[in-house]
């Protein structure tokens, strides 16, 4: 699995993702500077968290115009795997690769803490190692993480298996009490119709090593391992 971690000016989880892909998963990884225009040879392109362009204007709104994004469109169209985490998810929404938009958290404050998310679709390249309905213990860290889409669009997404994660209780119960930011339908992660582009607000790279307190995030990466070993993409 050859991976690229895109570095926008202001990305700040790039090192973290690089570390997990390279040292925890043992995959070849490159940093991809946002002005680069070539994604040939990569199996997975990861858009990391952070504050691309300072989140000025609106999270992800400026980064979508970076040269690499044109290339990323083509890469995704050809079926390449794209994972956007936190700010990376916001960039994917702004660029139209994923449906919906982000609003400010309903408390209007930045929230950093562990939450649980329920796996709604485990037939994606990113979720194959999870059980359907499993609750993952995973951190969030964002201020603009309130996912929004209109109800019709969400029900379409649900039918197509595009709602991948929802905020839930440790026992996988979905309720507004477990919704940290006011997201429509507790949505924490969505994918495109083809299922090769995933965006999620929680940070799997922050919980992929035992020393950090949870290894649930590693399930996302080990799902990709299955892809790397078997199915061609």
């Amino acid at each position: 699995m050859r991976c690229g971690v895109v570095v926008f000016p202001g990305s700040n989880c790039d090192h973290d993702c690089y570390h997990v892909l390279k040292h925890v998963m043992g995959w070849p990884v490159d940093y991809i500077w946002h002005k680069q225009k070539d994604l040939k040879g990569y199996d997975l392109v990861l858009l990391p968290g952070g504050f691309s362009y300072g989140d000025y204007l609106r999270a992800g709104a400026i980064a979508r115009f970076s040269p690499i994004m044109n290339e990323l469109n083509g890469f995704a169209e050809k079926g390449g795997l794209v994972l956007g985490i936190c700010n990376g998810f916001q960039v994917l929404l702004e660029s139209g690769l994923l449906p919906g938009a982000m609003l400010m958290n309903r408390g209007l404050r930045f929230i950093c803490r562990y939450v649980h998310i329920r796996v709604e679709n485990n037939s994606l390249p990113f979720t194959g190692s999870c059980k359907k309905g499993q609750a993952l213990h995973i951190p969030i860290a964002h201020q603009e993480g309130c996912y929004y889409n209109d109800p019709e669009a969400i029900s379409e997404m649900e039918k197509g298996g595009q709602v991948v994660f929802r905020y839930c209780s440790p026992e996988s119960e979905i309720d507004d009490r477990y919704n940290p930011n006011g997201s429509s339908g507790n949505i924490a992660g969505v994918c495109n119709r083809q299922g090769n582009v995933l965006g999620m607000m929680p940070h799997p790279e922050r919980c992929s090593e035992a020393v950090l307190g949870s290894e649930d995030g590693r399930l996302i990466f080990s799902s990709l391992l299955k892809v790397a070993e078997g199915v061609s993409i």
Binding site: G10, N12, D16, F110, L212
Partner: protein, 741 residues
């Protein structure tokens, strides 16, 4: 104004006073220059000789700090201190205040405080890996204090989160004296290779002086002077002296500087913080024993028509000054261009020792660099013990009514902002980014792994203004002891400290006495624990309309854990485990949170500290953790034993109760809520007891078994019995309930 017009501005008595310079200081300027200064030079002297930059009232006293030790690579005098971790790695850390700006404009004041301390760390060649902060506000029942706290926390979060440097812990305290003068102290720690440390020195005649980062604007002019004054009714008008932060640009500056630091092009580097271009140029020249000549026409400016005075005194953020090796200018500029930042040669190093500033082809300032730095005035200000000391110290608990219902006292205290959970604050900080944080905020100290090594780094900030108000020397010692104890409770061995000394007006002899005594206490404890002072910050003039804040030293301490997986948390783990107290015994009520919260009294002597006992308690705790005997360790401090026991029940992974029995010697309130020093609450499996007994006997530390873990209530003797979930709910809602009302 043209350069010529500015040069012709007449220096009057009034102008000198406006610049915060005394008549004697002005005479000294004339003798150092051998002539009258011009207007620009007057401004330059004014900021460099301000208390904020010159430490003129504190320099002589700070010399008492122990600054050397086998781990110390760089002590005070540079942008930050450097302490060895092993033969290869070092940690670089410092604490700084941004009190005055944060009162005037809390969001930007706090944000730029964070920006400033982060620059101090990466200037030295270190990758910043964590921030802490120590915040003090007035009581939250006043809306202004809620506003200040909300905006300060948002400002710290806004800057640190965007930078991608985790804010991993800190402290928040409340006291009436901070209402008009909150204390905002920020700490940053970075990791560097020992052989890749960079210093702020200009040398090598002809080497280019390169300006990098943001453009210079008219913001923050005279910020350093503002920070060296007392507040009054007009302080709000000072808002334009507060800088505006741009964390995105600083993130780029950080990455560009670290990229540049992999090369050999840098001779010296310093950030432009207080007093901007002025301070960075003359300090680098002064330290390097050289001079610099710069041309202000080359400085990237945000707007046209800025005078030399404004350019030299601007405190625009996110700027650095680099002295590069001759011939490497283009390579340096190329790196900054990649990150879309300015990189402009604005001058060169000279041999004559002067800071020479040109604009429009004319020399607008020409001052010996050392006149601004080493030769700045230094005073031994008069000091006198304040009258209040005798009165507060002679207080005794005789006649103090004892509460009838201790359970409700504990519940009230757990639900107060002072002792309640600080999650409302730290959940706004990204405390996990860079995936090194092992021990999150809420424990006794924060703990990070160092990737690629087995080590963990522990860090903490601690202070207690109330103790220092009652007895500054003891208060200073207690602050160092508590910081060390907090580190030890995680398993990390303390190595060194940085400190932020927040005091009132140094020209007031009573304040000066508090300062002198506090420094004495800190110095004595640091010598005893072999944790030298690597630098820090003095913030004077923390007073409004003549009323100083409590003398408030904040100790930032860092230490190392040899195996980052072998740490311990404060929380009880298993049903049936024994609960023990290591160290001090008895109950001391003076200066306690209980006395203040329940009786409205801030009096008495603070707890006595016996440094030898403290050292034994810490040694026993560290050994016990190292041998895997101790399963949880928690420092017993503010709120006393009952509060510390309750906190030990609130694990992030779930609550668990405990049953504690104590021998009553004196008053029950003193036993439960007294803040006797040098106490650590630990829990262990009973099977390990013989091993523990041998260890404790060998170290000759007092200890006692006081109960065991289990059940769903916290019971302490006949006095307290409360469901843990109830206590926890009160504790969790304490801050959020008041602020979001």
């Amino acid at each position: 104004m043209t350069v010529q017009e500015i040069k012709e501005i007449k220096i009057t008595q009034g102008l000198i006073e406006q610049h915060g310079l005394s008549a004697e200081e002005y005479e000294k300027i004339k003798s150092l220059l051998g002539r009258e200064p011009n207007y620009t030079e007057l401004g330059i002297f004014s900021v460099m000789w301000s208390e904020h930059c010159s430490y003129k009232s504190s320099r002589a006293i700070l010399k008492r700090f122990p600054i050397a030790g086998r781990h110390i690579i760089q002590g005070p005098g540079e942008n930050a201190g450097v302490v060895a971790i092993d033969d290869d790695l070092a940690m670089v850390f410092k604490i700084e205040s941004h009190n005055h700006p944060s009162y005037i404009e809390p969001y930007q004041g706090a944000a730029t405080g964070v920006g400033g301390i982060i620059r101090d760390i990466f200037t030295m060649g270190a990758r910043p890996v964590a921030c802490l902060n120590s915040l003090r506000f007035g009581p939250l029942n006043h809306p202004k204090n809620r506003y200040l706290m909300t905006r300060v926390v948002a400002g710290i979060a806004g800057y640190g989160n965007c930078m991608g440097i985790p804010t991993v812990g800190g402290e928040v305290c409340f006291e009436a004296c901070y209402s008009q003068n909150p204390l905002i102290n920020v700490f940053c720690l970075g990791i560097a290779k020992r052989d890749r440390i960079f210093y702020a020195r200009a040398c090598g005649e002809g080497n280019p002086v390169i300006y990098v980062g943001s453009s210079t604007g008219r913001d923050g002019i005279h910020g350093a002077t503002m920070a060296s004054e007392e507040f009054n009714e007009q302080s709000e008008e000072r808002r334009p002296t507060v800088q505006v932060g741009d964390p995105f640009t600083e993130k780029l500056l950080l990455e560009a500087c670290l990229e540049l630091m992999k090369t050999n092009y840098i001779i010296g580097i310093q950030d432009m913080g207080a007093a901007g271009l002025t301070c960075s140029n003359c300090e680098m020249a002064g330290r390097g024993g050289a001079g610099v000549e710069i041309d202000l026409d080359l400085v990237p400016a945000r707007e046209k028509g800025m005078t030399p005075y404004e350019i030299m005194l601007s405190e625009s953020q996110e700027r650095m000054l680099i002295v590069a090796a001759k011939g490497r200018e283009d390579a340096v500029k190329e790196i900054f261009a990649k990150w879309d930042l300015h990189g402009v040669s604005i001058g060169h190093v000279t041999a004559d020792g002067n800071m020479r500033v040109k604009k429009g082809g004319q020399v607008v300032a020409d001052i010996p660099a050392l006149a601004l730095t080493d030769n700045a005035p230094a005073y031994l200000r008069p000091k006198i013990m304040p009258d209040y000391i005798d009165e507060v110290q002679s207080w005794t608990p005789d006649g103090l009514p004892e509460p009838k219902d201790y359970t409700s006292v504990l519940e009230r205290m757990m639900g107060s902002p002072a002792l309640g959970s600080k999650a409302w604050v730290y959940e706004q900080y990204d405390h996990m980014v860079r995936i090194n944080t092992i021990l999150f905020p809420g424990a006794d100290a924060s703990l990070l792994r160092i990737m690629g090594t087995p080590y963990g780094i522990g860090m903490t900030v601690d202070g207690n203004g109330r103790y220092c108000y009652l007895d500054p020397k003891t208060g200073g010692m207690l602050a160092v002891a508590e910081a060390a104890r907090n580190l030890v409770c995680t398993g990390a061995r303390p190595l060194a400290i940085t400190n932020c000394l927040n005091f009132g007006d140094p020209e007031n002899p009573e304040v000066m006495w508090q300062f002198d005594e506090t420094v004495e206490g800190i110095a004595e404890a640091c010598r005893f624990f072999d944790t030298p002072v690597t630098g820090g910050n003095v913030s004077f003039y923390n007073q409004t309309l003549g009323e100083p804040v409590f003398p408030t030293p904040v100790i930032g301490m860092a230490g190392v854990l040899q195996d980052c997986r072998a740490y311990v948390t404060p929380w009880f783990k298993h049903d049936g485990d024994l609960v023990c107290i290591i160290g001090g015994t008895g109950g001391h009520l003076g200066g306690s949170e209980y006395l203040k919260a329940e009786h409205g009294i801030i009096k008495g002597m603070p707890p006595r500290i016996n440094l030898a006992l403290e050292a034994k308690a810490q040694k026993a705790c560290l050994r016990g953790i190292g041998l895997g005997i101790i399963r949880s360790a928690h420092d017993c401090s503010e709120g006393g034993l009952a509060v510390a026991m309750a906190e030990s029940c609130f694990s992030p992974y779930g609550s668990i109760g405990a049953e504690i029995n104590l021998d009553k010697s004196d008053r029950a309130d003193a036993l439960l809520f007294g803040e006797t020093a040098s106490r650590i609450i630990v829990s262990m499996n009973e099977k390990r007891l013989p091993e523990w007994e041998r260890l404790a006997t060998k170290i000759a530390v007092p200890w006692q078994i006081v109960g065991h873990v289990g059940g769903d209530r916290l019971k302490i003797g006949p006095w307290i019995s409360s469901p843990v979930e109830r206590l926890r709910h009160l504790w969790e809602r304490a801050l959020a309930g008041v602020i979001d009302q």
